[in-house]
């Protein structure tokens, strides 16, 4: 700055101040011309200087930009060895990697690569990539969240907690982050911070969910607040405060009536408090509900939509019993991306069968059988499908073949069911009895056996079997109704009435019990 001011002063003196020692006009003209030439030169020099500076600036900018791109691209994780991966995974990662390297300073392109690594179960690469994405856009807390999840998979609980603290600072209204923070703290036996985080999670609303077109809407059957409540109850039990655990769990089971693990823990809590009948009821309720499944985190669902890994997709499909559409969607994607994976074929067959689509299930199980000829479990599945399709003779053949290798309760039960359908009742009884010998608590075998015994006129024994079924599951309204009908058939109206009333207490909508009670003149 100082130098430029001096230069300006010097130029001004050339233009405005004549030399006092020069008197002739010519000399004066020459002087003016010289001055003009000097001025032009000065202008040209100035323009050249500006142009040079601009060129240098542009070159500097381009150089810095290019250097930055090279540096950023070099810091992206190197593509892992994809030779053992299905082609879809290789293509997926290759595409995302190419896009990120083409634009390595773009948070969007790099973030997409990170998600691809994460969704395809390359956790090291994902974590390194998320670190880069965080640098590019420090305000995007989702990258911190995902990075924490990727790093937490292999047991880095401390790291997970540290990262989740950053997430909750950026996104305090996002309940799943508070819940995960509570989990991470609890697993490190840091109980007070865990309690604080879970209390926040329990107080927050369920996060919004969006479903891109072409993918089904995921329903969270159990809200994150219930998971946080379960954590708080565990904490209360660790601290020996059983009554507080009871209070929390009673609240959780009321607000999330499909949350089996909460009922199970409530059963344990009632047991500790000496309330054995309540404990039994809670455990029975838990047994009728799906087992534990991880919280349906919308950000993890986004990973599932991104994934090309059949293992990741099946992992996400696991435990989604309350959401068959989502389960089927993920499993179909797994098959699309990994058509040679026999386990995926089997799993999809199982889903189809659960949904009652026996033709489709049969086709898948037969395909699986070709892929894994030595697996005998599938023979039972094929037999069951054939039975449900009314192809009883074939069904029996498959089920008996299965039983030569898999002598389990379920296959005997399925064979009993087929034999019942074709009217071979004594044979069916034998199979149901074999099922019960292998699993005395097989409820369906007990109730079907009772039904066949009624048809055989063995009412006393049928009543005993139904009574046994109610010992296993006292809150089964259908079994109470059937027992009531059986007792009524035996003329034991008083007992029958009690069973119908119990059935209606459990399930007020039990039509048969209502009609039967009306017939008995009690309604």
């Amino acid at each position: 700055m100082v130098r430029r001011r001096d230069g300006d002063h010097g130029r001004r003196s050339v233009r405005l101040q004549p030399d006092p020692g020069v008197g002739l006009k010519t000399d004066a003209t020459d002087g003016h011309q010289k001055a003009a030439t000097a001025t032009r030169r000065a202008w040209i020099a100035r323009l050249l200087w500006i142009a040079g500076a601009l060129v240098a600036g542009a070159a500097l900018y381009a150089g810095v930009t290019q250097a930055r791109r090279i540096v950023y691209a070099a810091r992206l994780p190197a593509l892992p060895d994809l030779s053992g991966q299905p082609a879809s995974v290789g293509e997926h990662l290759d595409d995302r990697d190419r896009a990120a390297r083409a634009d390595p300073t773009s948070a969007g392109a790099v973030g997409a690569l990170c998600l691809a690594y994460h969704a395809d179960m390359f956790y090291d690469q994902a974590a390194r990539c998320y670190a880069r994405a965080e640098e590019l856009d420090p305000r995007d807390w989702r990258m911190i969240y995902y990075r924490a999840l990727a790093e937490g998979e292999r047991g880095s609980g401390g790291l997970l907690a540290t990262s989740m603290r950053r997430v909750v600072a950026e996104a305090p209204a996002f309940g799943p982050a508070w819940w995960r923070l509570g989990e991470a703290e609890f697993k490190q036996a840091r109980y007070e911070p865990a309690a604080e985080a879970w209390r926040r999670a329990a107080s927050l609303p369920e996060p919004p969910r969006t479903s891109p077109s072409g993918s089904p809407h995921r329903i969270a059957a159990v809200p994150v607040s219930a998971y946080a409540g379960l954590g708080l109850a565990r904490l209360a039990l660790v601290r020996g405060d059983t009554d507080q655990a009871r209070q929390i769990l009673e609240g959780v089971t009321t607000s999330a009536p499909l949350f089996g693990p909460a009922f199970r823990l409530l059963g344990d809590t009632y047991g500790r408090l000496g309330r054995s009948a309540d404990a039994e009821r809670a455990v029975h309720r838990a047994n009728s509900l799906p087992a534990y499944s991880p919280y349906a985190d919308p950000l993890v669902d986004a990973l599932a939509r991104e994934s090309r890994s059949s293992t990741f997709l099946l992992q996400q499909a696991e435990g989604t019993d309350l959401n068959a559409v989502w389960n089927e969607y993920l499993t179909r994607r797994a098959l699309d991306f990994d058509p040679g994976n026999a386990d995926v074929v089997y799993k999809l067959g199982f889903i189809e069968r659960t949904l009652g689509r026996n033709e489709e299930a049969l086709e898948l199980f037969q395909r699986y059988q070709q892929m894994v000829p030595g697996d005998y479990q599938v023979l039972g599945q094929i037999g069951s499908c054939l039975g449900d399709l009314g192809r009883f003779a074939e069904a029996e053949t498959f089920l008996r073949r299965a039983l030569t290798r898999v002598d389990d309760a379920l296959t005997h039960y399925n064979l009993g069911f087929v034999l019942t359908r074709v009217g071979r009742l004594p044979d069916a009884i034998v199979e149901y009895e074999r099922a019960l010998a292998r699993d005395p608590n097989h409820l369906a075998a007990l109730t079907n056996l009772a039904s066949v015994l009624v048809r055989q006129g063995q009412l006393e024994r049928a009543a005993r079997e139904l009574t046994h079924a109610l010992e296993i599951e006292p809150a089964n309204a259908a079994v109470h109704t059937n027992l009531g009908l059986l007792l009524a058939q035996q003329g034991r109206m008083e007992q029958a009435g009690r069973e119908f009333e119990e059935a209606l207490r459990i399930d007020p909508q039990q039509r048969q019990a209502q009609d039967a009670l009306r017939a008995l003149g009690r309604r």
């Binding site: 070159a59 250097a67 179960m121 047991g155 089996g260 344990d268 991880p294 995926v344 799993k347």
Partner: protein, 440 residues
């Protein structure tokens, strides 16, 4: 001419920026190369074939017909105390505990002991009744596949001194029992039992108080599903046996139950994973760093959940360092798909403890997938993985002991074939350490 200094400085700045970029690029490349080199180092095998210093021998009964073995547990112990190490086996498929007797040296004969036991999962040899011979404490799952039915049992096979055993069912109709270990938990002089009741959705960690006359009373310590191990060890050095329990399923936690010496326990979780699929598979309690207290050696490699039953990227081996006052610090030491049954022994004879691990759920369609490895300890608790074998596959259990009496540790493994492929099966394999050790 005046623009020259400015252009010069611009060029200098540009050169500096380019230099910095180049340096950063090189540093990054060096970092990547270093990480690659470290990966490379982990893959270095001893010279020769992968099982260079172990020779393999199938022992016990052969696979019969087209059966698929289901060996849940093996132990090396001199059951008849004849000076030759024998092998105890829990065979789920045959519903038996068997004794592979070594007599004479190098000749192994498999014999069933006691009456059949449904799905035996673990056996421990201990003089339970203090009569001078080794009895067997057996965990019975009841059924191998997950079930909430209370079909578990604890059975003590009483030795009459001539290796004829009588079954005593000391607990039944409990959650499927995966592990049971003996210890005097209440300080009354007789042996009680720590029990891992795996169950399924239901399960519990408990101890059975020996009331005398083969009667026992169950005390539940923790009602969480999925206990795999319940090991008796003095964790806090107070002279009383505590219980260390591995709880799998969705919990994936390790608990210590600190004993006051009279059977009153204080529960303390010492580590837990937030990954509900972590796949905890086994713990061993051992003073791994030889600092005078017991540490926990821990594998996670279970994959018998959602299909396919093979590798998960988080599978591996770690140890929990006992820092005193029941505080433990987690150290990951190796990635290994399907890792199971880690055991510590000085494999290379250099004075520190190495780790041997089997794999139950690897990517068996890949012929190079490993089923048996050892992790070499460099003396400062840094471990390098070395392959021992890729066949047989599906190894779920491992025991280490001096099988041939040459003073160096040998191995015995058992296979559990409940998922395909079924082309490289073996019931029981003995791996004899040929010695001399590679770096004695």
């Amino acid at each position: 001419m005046r623009s020259r200094p400015l252009l010069l400085s611009v060029l200098v700045i540009a050169a500096l920026v380019a230099g910095a970029a180049w340096w950063t690029f090189r540093a990054s490349a060096r970092r990547q190369a270093a990480s690659g080199a470290s990966d490379e180092r982990r893959g270095i095998l001893p010279r020769g074939s992968p099982s260079d210093f172990f020779s393999r021998q199938t022992i016990g009964d052969a696979i019969q017909g087209d059966e698929r073995p289901q060996i849940a547990n093996v132990q090396i112990v001199d059951l008849d105390r004849d000076g030759l190490a024998d092998v105890l086996v829990c065979d789920v498929l045959r519903g038996r505990v068997t004794w592979i007797r070594q007599s004479p040296k190098g000749v192994f004969t498999e014999l069933a002991v006691g009456d059949p036991i449904k799905a035996p999962a673990h056996v421990e040899a201990v003089d339970f009744d203090h009569d001078g011979d080794l009895d067997l404490v057996v965990a019975s799952l009841g059924v191998l596949n997950p079930s909430n039915n209370r079909v578990g049992a604890v059975v003590v096979l009483e030795n009459d001194g001539r290796q004829r055993f009588v079954n005593h069912v000391v607990a039944s109709n409990i959650a499927r029992v995966a592990d049971v270990r003996a210890g005097d938990l209440d300080g009354d002089g007789d042996l009680d039992l720590a029990v891992a009741g795996f169950g399924y959705d239901d399960g519990e960690t408990s101890w059975l108080e020996n009331k005398g006359g083969w009667t026992f009373e169950q005390h539940v310590l923790l009602r969480l599903s999925g206990p795999i191990n319940a090991i008796v060890a003095d964790v806090n050095h107070d002279g009383s046996p505590d219980i260390v329990a591995l709880v799998s399923q969705e919990w994936e936690e390790i608990w210590v139950f600190l004993n006051d010496g009279r059977g009153r326990f204080t529960p303390k979780m010492i580590w837990g994973s937030t990954n509900p699929d972590f796949g905890s598979s086994w713990i061993s309690v051992v003073d791994l760093d030889r600092d005078g207290d017991v540490d926990v050696l821990y594998s996670n490699g279970d994959a018998f959940d959602y299909a396919p039953a093979n590798s998960r990227p988080w599978h591996g081996v770690q140890w929990l360092e006992n820092k005193g006052d029941a505080q433990f610090e987690f150290h990951r030491i190796a990635d290994l798909p399907g890792a199971s049954s880690p055991q510590a022994a000085d494999i290379d004879g250099d004075g520190d403890l190495d780790v041997v691990v089997v794999s139950a759920y690897n990517n068996w369609d890949d012929p190079a997938a490993l089923s048996l490895v050892w992790l070499e300890n460099d003396g400062s608790m840094r471990f390098t993985l070395h392959a021992i074998a890729d066949s047989p596959t599906h190894l779920v259990t491992l025991a280490i002991g001096d099988l041939d009496g040459d003073g160096v540790p040998d191995l015995v493994t058992g296979g559990m074939y409940i998922s395909h492929p079924y082309d490289r099966m073996s019931r029981i394999t003995a791996w004899s350490h040929r010695g001399p050790t590679p770096r004695r």
